[in-house]
């Protein structure tokens, strides 16, 4: 007990080792305490109480997910692939309008047969017009043919001078 009194004094001077402080703690927990030391029992009890105090909200654990980034890229790629396929399918399925058409008298005509017939008729008409307009030139050809013997004749003027 005398030793304990010395140890208590040493404790309050801040000179005890951790091992000595454990001895003191055990002494105050033992229940066999000298009357004059009882008052300090509460001090060690207070420390004990604080030692058992725990954080109420436990900390969240930390984790590294190396594959998560890859997954994000994979997901992004697959989602964009699906979106692209969807857009393509919608484009294919859109109301179809043919690129082969003709505008006749301000109207869009997609019937190819009709357009061919219309075009042939128009071309024949143009041909007729051309032929009839070439007829005056036919008579010119006749004059040209009639004048051919004259062109074949030698130059009279030159012959007389020689």
């Amino acid at each position: 007990m005398e030793k304990m009194s010395e140890l208590i004094e040493k404790y309050f001077r801040g000179e005890t080792t951790l091992a000595e402080e454990i001895t003191l703690n055990d002494y105050f927990k033992s229940g066999d305490i000298k009357a004059e030391h009882v008052v300090y029992q509460y001090l060690f009890e207070a420390f004990d109480l604080e030692r058992n105090e725990k954080i109420e909200v436990p900390l969240k654990t930390f984790e590294v997910f190396p594959s998560r980034r890859k997954n994000i890229w994979l997901k992004t790629l697959s989602y964009s692939g699906i979106a692209a396929a969807l857009v393509f399918a919608l484009w294919i399925q859109r109301p179809h309008r043919s690129d082969d058409f003709a505008i006749i008298s301000g109207k869009r005509i997609e019937n190819q047969e009709y357009v061919k017939k219309y075009a042939t008729a128009k071309l024949n008409k143009v041909n007729d017009i051309l032929r009839s307009s070439m007829e005056p030139l036919q008579s010119l050809n006749k004059v040209k043919k009639a004048m051919k013997p004259l062109r074949d004749m030698p130059d009279l003027k030159n012959e007389t001078t020689e």
């Binding site: 509460y42 001090l43 954080i55 436990p58 930390f62």
Partner: protein, 172 residues
Amino acid sequence: MDSAQFNNQILALSDKLYRLAKSILRNVEAAQDAVQDLSLKLWEKRVKLDEVENIQAFTMRAMRNLCLDTIRQQHDEDEFPNEMEFIEPNPHQQIEQKDLVNRIREMIDNLPELQRTIIRMRDVEGLELYEIAYITTLTENAVSVNLSRARQKIREQILKEQKIVEETVWKR
């Protein structure tokens, strides 16, 4: 330091860190926030933790610094005073107050920050003087002096309170 090591070493200290933060900040919610805040900061710098020799002392030092920063910030914002003054209750109040164990905890809480941090790191957490010196950035001798002062103050107050209780009992 990988996540498993971090969770084993740092998160295992969460109760100690919380007690330290609570002792400095004297507020449960603020202490919890401070521990969460610190764990996040340490997680972000976990690569550097491999170089640390004494993880416990390092994290407790970081915790104390973070708490002191919080107090300084709060003091600047004038939300509440940095150090609450210890208003000694009158003898009548003392008798009516909680039991002596809780009164002692209040006495420790009312010590200056350095003294209450040191006494708790030693008597509650069981740290060696050199570890406390590292955490508080003091010399071992300065830690010893502050520890002695803190214990002496608490002793005086306990004896004073005990005397009042005894006198009250005798009067009855």
